[in-house]
């Protein structure tokens, strides 16, 4: 039987509590993984490893966090994503809500796209596949 969104959320929450040492009540759907929960770059790797184990899924590099895109000059100019970059990001991050980011696609704000809900959406897509 497929997992419900609530079940996925609970497991994601458990994963983030263990990986980031945060309290249960800090892990809300809107919480930003870096800005609110304090994740550093290595933590994303830790989270990836833990999600793979918790949900028995495989997360290919660049799928959850499309970091290679940011080092491609076609996609990034003067610290902002180009139109092509934004299109590419939309294609790769169907699990994220880009509405706010699109208004001012500054690279520095890209980590704000990673909320707890983004991860839940990503995992939902993987467990349903």
């Amino acid at each position: 039987m497929p997992m419900s969104e609530g079940e996925v959320f609970e497991k994601v929450k458990e994963t983030l509590v263990e990986a980031l040492g945060v309290d249960d009540d800090e892990v809300t759907p809107e919480a930003k993984i870096s800005a609110d929960l304090g994740a550093e770059s290595i933590d994303y790797l830790d989270i990836t490893f833990r999600l793979e184990k918790a949900f028995a899924i495989k997360i290919p590099r660049g799928e959850l966090v499309p970091e290679q895109l940011l080092s491609d000059p076609t996609y990034v100019r003067s610290g902002r994503l180009t139109a092509e970059g934004l299109e590419e990001l939309k294609k790769r991050m169907t699990h994220a809500d880009l509405t706010e980011f699109e208004k001012d696609p500054e690279v520095g704000k890209i980590m704000d796209l990673f909320t707890v809900q983004t991860i839940v959406n990503y995992v939902m897509g993987k467990v349903a596949a």
Binding site: A19, I42, D43, L45, D46, F49, E52, K53, R61
Partner: protein, 158 residues
């Protein structure tokens, strides 16, 4: 003093697991500062011992070509103190190994009894990837580490 916090590997299964021991001796300088009246093995150095056990396991898995850097202590819990005369055993197991990183799970034993767990994440700092030339002395795997594991690799592909 040399920065080697394991004495010997007792088991080494390439790409899977490694077991190393460390005999704690009152001859070690650091114990006299931690503390003079009651010397105990610092937990931070047990984390280092596990990092060396697990780090060599991770490094050997890629033929010691990568510079394996401890990137995160995902968990460290040691429930008992360790004093001179005790033997520590570090049991490390590779949980994930990818081109850019690895994670390991580990158990700490004192005189054969489980007293803690230390789980680690390592990053492969490749000189091409970073675009930085690291000086020779910054290399993680110097001869002393390779010599430590060499007797257990005889007759294997490692």
């Amino acid at each position: 003093m040399r920065w080697i916090w394991i004495d010997r590997f007792t088991e080494f299964v390439p790409q899977r697991r490694a077991v190393a021991i460390k005999n704690v001796s009152l001859a070690e300088e650091h114990l006299h500062d931690h503390w003079e009246a009651y010397p105990i093995m610092p937990t931070s150095l047990m984390i280092e011992g596990m990092a060396q056990t697990a780090g060599i396991l991770v490094g050997q898995a890629r033929g010691f070509r990568e510079k394996v850097i401890l990137a995160k202590v995902a968990k460290a819990e040691v429930r008992e103190i360790v004093t001179p005369g005790d033997q520590i055993t570090y049991r490390a197991e590779i949980e994930n190994l990818t081109p850019e990183a690895a994670s390991t799970r580990g158990e700490v034993l004192k005189n054969g009894e489980l007293i803690g767990e230390i789980d680690l994440i390592f990053s492969h700092i490749d000189r091409n990837l970073a675009g930085v030339e690291f000086p020779e002395e910054n290399f993680v795997f110097t001869g002393q580490f390779e010599r430590l594991v060499a007797p257990l690799l005889e007759g294997t592909d490692g």
